[in-house]
Structure formats: C-alpha cells, structure tokens
C-alpha cells in the first residue's frame, strides 16, 4: 500500500522554478530483544530533534520524526518508526511490521551477548525475507554509557560487532539512549543511505503531475560491502 513509497514533493517557497525542496517519507522498523532499550533510542531521537516534534496520537509504539539531511540540506526526511515487540514469542508478528520497510534498525545491548545473537538472527531473517537491496539495515549496540562507567560491564567488543556488520554490509553504530551518544548520527546515516537508494528514483519535483514510478528499484551500484562506523 502506498504508505511509505510515495515521495512527497514539497515546494519550499513561492518560487516554483528554483526553490524546490524534497520531502521523503521513510518507514523504519525497529527490531531487537525486549531489554536492549530500542524504544529508548527512538525516544531520545524524537526528543533531541527539535524539528517539529509531534506527540503521537495513540501511543509510543509508532512515532514519527522529521529531519533535514546534513549532506543535502534541501532534503527533508520524515521517518515513520515502527516498533516491534522484542519478546521471542512474538517473533512471528515481525513480518507484519517489516514488510515495505525502507530501513531496519536492529538493536542489541553491549552488556548482553545474547542480544547480539538475537540481532544477528534478525539480520538473517531480513536478508532472507526482504533482501538487502531494498532495505537499509543498521546494527546498533546500545547502552555504551554503562561501559563508560564500568569497563568490565562490556560483553560485546566494538571491533567484533563492527567486523560482523562489515561482513554483512550493515551500517554500524554504538549508542547510548541515556546520554544520546550516537543516536542522531544513526538517523542521519540511515536517512542518507535510504535517500541514496531512493533519491535516484525521485524525479524532478516540479513534475508532480506526471505519473511516477516510485517502486523501489535495485540500485545500479552495489555498495552493500561498504560500512560506516
């Protein structure tokens, strides 16, 4: 259905010919074990971005937030963030959420090695069911603030997770929802990556009346081996 794949073109100012801006709406699905703080990351993101925050009308399982891309100031991205239940027994519901997603943020807890295993199984499932041509996947190790206070608390080494992400072609960040470290960078990077994938297909924004093909197409260059950290 047309909930995410329709690029929205917005004329920024009165001058139709020159001052055009692009607004893209992306769906991001949030995956990870129930204790890793995935909801907290999103709350932090939504709270820290000052750009027109709107309280969701129903509840915190669905949030949306708009950001401007740092590298493309004329591009505005509206993230629609779909939270999923992290408990193992509700795993079967996940396909209802990740269908048609443009990005997936998979979160683990750097103090809980088991949560990385779970995160890896999500990566596999997404690659099998959705395919990473159509999906930007980002792996995030949360709760680094605990390690900053007590280095022995860390159970997952940054290098190990990073290497895994590299091999799988995922974006990788370590974050702290508590301090905010890494949080806005993640959404910037995901936004940038999805824009690169989708932006190509977005025709000139002055052509809004023309029928558009907004199907997500496979990118011509395969950049899935590159990794950002």
């Amino acid at each position: 259905m047309g909930w995410v794949k329709s690029p929205i073109h917005k004329r920024a100012h009165q001058n139709k010919r020159y001052n055009t801006a692009t607004m893209l709406q992306f769906k991001l699905v949030l995956l990870g074990d129930s204790s890793v703080g995935k909801s907290s990351i999103v709350h932090r993101f939504v709270k820290d971005s000052f750009d027109e925050f709107r309280e969701s009308t129903i509840g915190a399982a669905f949030l949306s937030q708009t950001i401007k891309l740092e590298k493309h100031p004329d591009v505005t991205i509206k993230f629609e963030i779909w939270d999923t239940a992290g408990q193992e027994r509700y795993k079967s519901l996940a396909p209802m959420y990740y269908r048609n997603a443009n990005a997936a943020l998979i979160v683990y807890d750097v103090t809980q090695p088991g949560s990385l295993v779970k995160a890896q199984s999500w990566v596999e499932e997404l690659k099998n069911k959705v395919g990473d041509q159509d999906l930007v996947i980002c792996l995030a190790g949360n709760k680094v603030d605990i390690c900053d206070e007590d280095a022995t608390a860390r159970e997952v080494q940054r290098e190990d997770a990073q290497l895994y992400a590299q091999e799988q072609g995922l974006l990788f960040y370590e974050t702290s929802a508590k301090t905010g470290a890494g949080v806005s960078a993640i959404f910037q990077e995901i936004g940038e990556r999805v824009y690169q994938k989708k932006g190509m297909e977005v025709p000139s924004s002055t052509q809004a009346r023309k029928p558009l093909n907004v199907e997500l197409q496979r990118p011509s260059t395969n950049d899935s081996t590159s990794c950002c950290s």
Partner: protein, 435 residues
C-alpha cells in the same frame, strides 16, 4: 492475510503522488478523526449535499455506473478483484472530483471529506458483496480470499475457547500490571467489537484505533508507555483472546482491502498491522506460544478447560448449522444477516436510501428532485443523526462510569464533553486524574 499483491497498480501510485501533498496535508490524511488538537473534518451529510448538486451529475453517473457494474457484471468477484476494482474506481473518481463542480472548487479539507464520503458511499453499497461474513451463505462458491477470512475467524474463535483460561503471565505481560487489566482489555475489546456495526472502512478503522488508544491510556497510567510495542502487543493479544469480538480478521482484512491506500498511512497503518499480527498470533496459538511457569498447573488447567468445552459443545443445540462450536455466542453479537440489516451507522443508511434513486438502475435524474422532499429528507437525516449521537454519548458515559465508579459523575460528563465523547481520550484524562 495477504502479504503478496500489496503493491498498488501504477495508476494508483501516480494518483497518490499527484496530490499536492505538503506536510500539513499528510497529517490531516493520516488521521481523520483521532487527533484531538486538529479538529478533523468529516461530514458525510455535507458530501451527500454536494452529490445532490445538479453540477455533480457526471460524478453521480460515474458512481452509479460503477456500482451497477460491480453488482451485475458478475455474481461474485474474488477478494483481490474487488480490491482492485474498488481502488481503481476511487483513483478514477477522485481525479474526476478535481474536474467537476461543486467539488472542483473545494478547499483541501473539503475535498478530502468528499473523498471520504465517496469511499463510505460505495462501500456502504457494496458491503454485502465485500465483507466476508456477509457471504457465508455462498460458502461453496466462495473464492479463496473470502473463504480464508471466514476460516481464520473460525480458527480465532476456536483458539479463544481453547486458551480462555490463560493468565497475563502466560503472555509475558509486565508484572506491574494491576488488577484493572481486565477492565481495560474488556473496554478495548468492546471498541474492537464495534467494528461490526460499521460498513465504511474508515469507521471500522476508527474503532480499531480507539481500542489501541484505550490500551495505551492504560499503559500511560502505569508509566509503561515508554516500553512501546514490548508492552502494547501482549496487551492487545490479551484483549483479543479474552474478548468475543466476532469476525475480527474479516474486519481487519476488509479495512486493508477497501480503505484507500492514501488514507491508510502512518499511525493507522501501524495499528492495523499490529491488529493483524495480534489476531494472527491468537488464531495460530499453540501451547508453545505461551510462557509457562508451572507446567503441571498449566496442563491441569488446559485439560479441565478441554473437558468443560466438550460438555458445552455437546449441550449446544445442533439445530442451527451456523451456531457451531467455532462461533462464540455473545449476547450482543450480530448474526451474519444482521451485518446487512442492522448497521449501527443507521444515519448513513437513511442518507443512502434517501438518495438511493441516484444509484438505482432506473435512469433517475438528480435534477428531478422535489425540493420539498429534499427538505423533509434532510430533516429526517438530521434528526436520526442526532439520535444516534445521543445514543453514542450515553454509551460512552455508561462505559466510563463503569470503569471509574469512584469518580464524580459530573466530572466524567464534563470531561466527555471536552473530549467530544471519544472514549480513548476520555480514558486518558480520567486515568491521569485518578492517579
């Protein structure tokens, strides 16, 4: 639930993007009636009035012709054909609305209302062909899609009986959740059940969102809102499991098929998917799906329930083939024919019948209206709409009094008025006050 074929036809995609959508527009479309801050504009009677304008004749004729073709060209379309036909027509006619007066000169909000009105009009007319429970009598000739809806509803009902004894802990519902759990999940389930009273996909969707909002109101009260889906999904499943909402899966699939994709975005889309997932979870529930602390205790409860069920099923009268074990007997639950004959949205039905001549095969001209008759018709409708509204307000007050027996009745009334009798929003405020 269809996972395939979710891509819309290129035609409708293009229609979506050709709408002059700015940020504000997206918001208003996301949420026609749920947002308390921006008062939504949704007035079916206003749409009907526009349709009676002589200049609307081309639109009326397009609509009439579509409805006639839909019901006469074939006895029964498959669910996927129906989805496509209805969607294609909406794409087509929404485009036409921008070409003909009185729609052409409407502002964005009124044009949106006209589109909503059009969807409500055509789905009201086609409901008996499109909503799977209405097709039960044609079971042997049904296509796979409609049949699966009915099968899944029956599965859900069976599982509800099989696991009706389970406790919150079996679903890993947070220990902090208090004794009020039953009250809130029952209220949420009641809102879900109200979907059966409406024909328009939007109206059904509003019921579903209300149900979710009640759950989130409860979570906010417990300060568990921040847990997001981890806290929400188990409660939604619990509400579905402990309720006797009929035809839940048919309703959800109906919304998904016939709600215009441009309207089914953002939050609506999220909560519809959650409902689909939760209903699917219950319909496929196994002992392994549950968190079982004490195996022995669980087994004895399970077997005791099985015995009880067997007895209940034996004692049920076998005379009525529709009342088999898979259909829960609920005091207020409508039987299949009631889905057509007694819609809660009676106001809509009167409105529809009042200008039914526009959509009857006979070449009736909308210009030929007797002005006097129009006025009377309009009065009827207004009176009925008022009655319906009063009934609804009384219902909301009743529910709230039952939920908050210690609360001052005047206060509940005042809050209900302030919150326009939206039960989810009222519960939110009352919880804040009571804590």
């Amino acid at each position: 639930m269809q996972m395939e074929d979710r891509q819309e036809s290129p035609k409708s995609q293009s229609a979506l993007v050709t709408e002059p959508a700015d940020i504000k527009k997206i918001k208003s479309e996301d949420f026609p009636s749920q947002n308390d801050d921006e008062e939504p504009f949704y007035d079916f009677q206003a749409f009907v009035k526009l349709m009676k304008d002589p200049r609307a004749d081309p639109i009326v004729r397009y609509t009439r012709s579509f409805l006639n073709n839909f019901v006469t060209k074939r006895e029964l379309w498959t669910s996927e054909e129906q989805r496509k036909l209805v969607n294609d027509f909406k794409v087509f006619v929404f485009d036409k609305l921008t070409l003909y007066e009185p729609f052409k000169s409407l502002d964005a909000a009124n044009l949106l209302n006209a589109k909503e009105g059009m969807e409500k009009l055509i789905m009201g007319k086609l409901y008996h062909k499109c909503f799977s429970p209405c097709l039960k009598s044609q079971l042997n000739v049904l296509d796979k899609g409609h049949k699966l809806d009915l099968d899944h509803d029956a599965m859900l009902a069976d599982k509800r009986e099989e696991f009706r004894f389970i406790d919150p802990q079996h679903l890993e519902i947070n220990d902090k959740i208090s004794s009020k759990l039953e009250t809130f999940t029952q209220l949420s389930a009641k809102e879900l059940g109200r979907m059966n009273g409406y024909k328009a996909p939007r109206d059904k969707m509003v019921c579903a969102l209300n149900a979710c909002r009640v759950i989130f109101g409860f979570l906010k009260h417990l300060k568990l809102e921040r847990d997001g889906a981890d806290a929400f999904i188990p409660l939604l499943i619990y509400a579905i499991l402990k309720s006797n909402v009929e035809s839940l899966i048919s309703n959800v699939n109906y919304i998904e098929r016939f709600r215009y994709p441009g309207f089914l975005r953002g939050e609506s889309s999220y909560y519809l998917s959650s409902l689909q997932g939760a209903a699917g979870f219950v319909a496929n529930m196994q002992v392994e799906s549950l968190h079982i602390g004490n195996q022995q205790d669980f087994e004895s409860k399970y077997h005791a329930n099985q015995d009880a069920l067997r007895k209940e099923r034996e004692s049920r009268q076998p005379s009525d083939p529709h009342k088999n074990a898979s259909i829960p007997r609920e005091p207020y639950g409508p039987s299949p024919s009631d889905y057509i004959l007694k819609p809660l949205d009676g106001a809509t039905n009167i409105v529809l019948s009042k200008f039914a001549e526009l959509f009857s095969p006979a070449p009736a001209s909308p210009q030929g209206h007797d002005a006097q008759e129009d006025v009377e018709g309009h009065d009827d409708i207004t009176r009925l709409a008022q009655e319906m509204e009063e009934k609804e307000h009384a219902r909301v007050l009743r529910e709230l009094h039952a939920m908050f027996p210690d609360m001052d009745q005047e206060l509940i009334r005042d809050i209900s008025i302030a919150k326009k009798y939206r039960i989810g929003a009222c519960v939110d405020v009352l919880l804040t006050l009571s804590s």
